[in-house]
């Protein structure tokens, strides 16, 4: 029976059930059972438009199942399961409900066959996910959540406006491949771009993800941005602009990641960098490139979740994720350290780890199509991501200077979640065939060639050599308790200062004008009173009969009005 309903409804029903279930085992089991059931359903769904509904004159498609939507929906189910397993200790109903609604909305959006359905689920992800930030229940998290929500809802408003314009232009709301030829499609593109953290629209990601709860960040890392990647792959494949946007995305976050102290924010920057690879794949738009985007999104969700889990476990035990406060934790959290290293090796695309068999599809596609400079940028970004995510994260958290902290190893459910995720990262890297079979197009690619393995090892190990040399010579910037300005400074400080200054200037001008006018009016009234008032000079010459004449005129007018009416 559940096959005949949109899969997202399964998550919504699960979220509703959480309200009646007691905390503990029952709710935990529900949180795990829903993604498993949904994953099984999705695995067995036939291709096609399986569920439609009518709204006014519009036909809404809730379940457009094909290979592209299926792979994203499947990895979303896996991510929801692993994230909920990691959060087994959390009894906060707000977070539990938000996690299911968020995952359900993301899966609903992936299966949406039209732009209106997409819009509803798009906003669903925005509203549900913000509670994972607010659940931290602090003043800073509240403000950060508000900033996050403004950006996410803004993206939805642009999507809706774009959809309306697109409908007026074409008479269709079908969510199919579009071109940037009209304002409507540009608005839709921009809406996707905000959620995908395009350059200059990106900073909500680095602002919000480190502010969420420990388990909330793991959940957040999986859905919103990869939903946007899916939307771009569905709506704008082969849009050349995306190649350059993606290349810039791979590049600039790595500089910020090197100097960032908060390790969860470092991971948010590297998440942005990895999205860039996927966006390049969408921009290139060939079968190989789109396969690369889908495969990399799949692998990325796993290794990024693993990295957030491992740093989250450190935070759970120590209360901080700041590189300047950590170090030496390998002694008492060795399993967490090993899982972190697996995540680091996967994101760095080491042979036998997942990133190696997915990222290379995109690099090969870009060079196949003659984008040599972009290929060079991606190569640099690959070395850079190894530098800050592959080395910096495990090094500053678990090695480096001994912080003196001796926290207990992560709790068993966290280790289980990290272990399962690490296993998948390695399994995909060692045996990529099952993942390749899930990709939208047939895969002819062979990742393990002598050239590929050796050149990748050269790139990564010489990058490690650079890190080592810079550390030993003291050139590498130390972790410091500080923040670094990013584009959000424009809205949080500059625009705020401009608005405050303008408000003050307007207030001064307004008060001045009002005072001036008031004074002038007072002067005029006083003058008139002086001359025409009871004691005024003019009053002395008023004839007594003038009043009688005016009364006669008024009475006459009243008579005429009565007569006429």
């Amino acid at each position: 029976m559940i096959e005949s309903l949109p899969t997202a409804f399964l998550f919504f029903a699960g979220a509703a059930a959480l309200y009646v279930l007691p905390k503990g085992l029952a709710r935990g089991a529900m949180l795990l059972a829903v993604p498993v059931a949904a994953g099984l359903v999705i695995w067995n769904l036939p291709a096609g438009n399986l569920w439609t509904a009518h709204l006014l004159d519009l036909e809404l498609e809730f379940m457009r199942v094909d290979k592209l939507s299926r792979i994203f929906a499947l990895i979303f189910c896996i991510a929801a399961f692993l994230g909920n397993l990691y959060a087994w200790h959390v009894h906060d109903r707000v977070q539990q409900v938000a996690a299911l609604l968020y995952a359900g909305s993301a899966i609903g959006a992936v299966f949406a066959g039209d732009l209106v359905t997409l819009f509803f689920y798009w906003e669903g992800t925005a509203v549900a996910s913000v509670f994972l930030i607010w659940a931290r229940r602090s003043e800073g998290a509240y403000h950060t959540g508000m900033r996050y929500l403004i950006m996410q809802i803004g993206s939805g408003v642009l999507l809706l406006a774009g959809t309306a314009l697109f409908y007026r232009e074409t008479g269709s709301i079908a969510f199919e491949k579009m071109t940037l030829h009209s304002l409507g499609t540009w608005l839709i593109f921009l809406a996707f771009g905000i959620k995908c953290a395009f350059p200059l629209l990106h900073n909500w990601l680095q602002d919000a993800y480190p502010a969420a709860t420990i388990t909330g960040t793991v959940i957040l890392s999986a859905f919103t941005t990869k939903l946007a990647v899916y939307a771009l792959a569905r709506g704008f494949p082969g849009t050349e602009l995306l190649i350059y946007v993606g290349a810039v995305m791979t590049l600039f976050p790595i500089f910020f990641a090197v100097i960032e102290n908060d390790l969860r924010r470092v991971l948010a920057y590297s998440l942005n960098n990895q999205l860039g690879f996927m966006v390049v794949g969408v921009g290139v738009g060939t079968e190989l490139a789109l396969n690369g985007t889908a495969a990399h999104a799949f692998a990325h969700i796993l290794y990024k979740a693993l990295l957030f889990m491992s740093i989250g476990a450190v935070m759970f035990r120590t209360g901080t994720a700041k590189g300047s406060e950590l170090g030496g934790l390998y002694k008492t959290m060795p399993l967490t350290m090993i899982f972190c290293v697996v995540g680091a090796a996967s994101i760095s695309a080491f042979p036998l780890f997942s990133g190696f068999v997915t990222k290379s599809l995109i690099l090969s596609a870009s060079v196949d199509e003659g984008y040599y400079i972009v290929w060079g940028v991606l190569l640099f970004a690959s070395a850079g991501v190894f530098h800050h995510s592959g080395i910096k994260i495990p090094y500053f958290a678990f090695f480096a200077h001994d912080s003196g902290l001796r926290p207990k190893e992560a709790p068993p459910h966290m280790l289980l979640a990290m272990g399962a995720t690490a296993f998948l990262c390695i399994a995909i890297g060692v045996y990529p065939a099952p993942l390749y079979a899930l990709l939208p197009f047939e895969v002819q690619y062979v990742p393990y060639t002598t050239s590929h393995v050796i050149t990748q090892l050269q790139l990564l190990l010489f990058s490690a050599l650079a890190f080592t040399v810079l550390m030993r010579t003291g050139v590498y910037p130390p972790e410091m308790r500080a923040i670094n300005l990013d584009t959000d400074w424009i809205t949080r400080k500059f625009a705020s200062a401009v608005i405050t200054t303008l408000a003050r200037a307007t207030a001064v001008v307004w008060t001045g004008l009002a005072t001036f006018t008031q004074n002038r009016l007072n002067t005029i009234i006083a003058g008139l009173y002086r001359s025409h008032g009871p004691g005024g000079r003019i009053a002395k010459v008023w004839p007594t009969g003038a009043m009688v004449i005016w009364i006669a005129i008024l009475l006459g007018a009243t008579l005429i009005l009565n007569f006429v009416s």
């Binding site: 602090s138 800073g140 500089f255 050239s451 050796i454 990748q456 923040i483 670094n484």
Partner: protein
């Protein structure tokens, strides 16, 4: 380098104990020399096999090695310059930011390993 010179290592988890060598400077130096050797070997490998390439620059021996090394150094040096311009105190956005806030203790489990 350990921050607790008189620490009893017997209570550490076995995996943690097995890795204590990283606290020894001599061992770290040996590890670094090992990395130099591996890198040298990888560089020389370019002369020993037929590389399948897409772009002409890939044919330069050690291209990937040099690309990885020099651009990584450049990355760090540029990032250091950026820090001079962009770095601000932690409380720059406070209180509308989580930077200076303690993570809520009720959501943590700060257990110590030998408790």
């Amino acid at each position: 380098m350990s921050d607790r010179p008189n620490e009893n290592h017997d209570t550490l988890p076995a995996l943690g104990r097995a890795m204590l060598w990283v606290d020894n400077k001599n061992h770290v130096t040996r590890f670094v020399y090992g990395l130099y050797l591996v890198c040298a070997g990888l560089f020389l490998t370019d002369f020993l096999y037929r590389k399948y390439t897409y772009v002409d620059v890939e044919n330069i021996p050690g291209f990937y090695a040099m690309y990885g090394f020099f651009l990584s150094v450049g990355l760090v040096i540029c990032a250091k310059w950026m820090r001079k311009v962009l770095q601000r105190p932690e409380d720059y956005y406070a209180p509308k930011d989580i930077e200076t806030e303690e993570y809520p203790a009720t959501q943590l489990d700060r257990a110590v390993h030998d408790d």
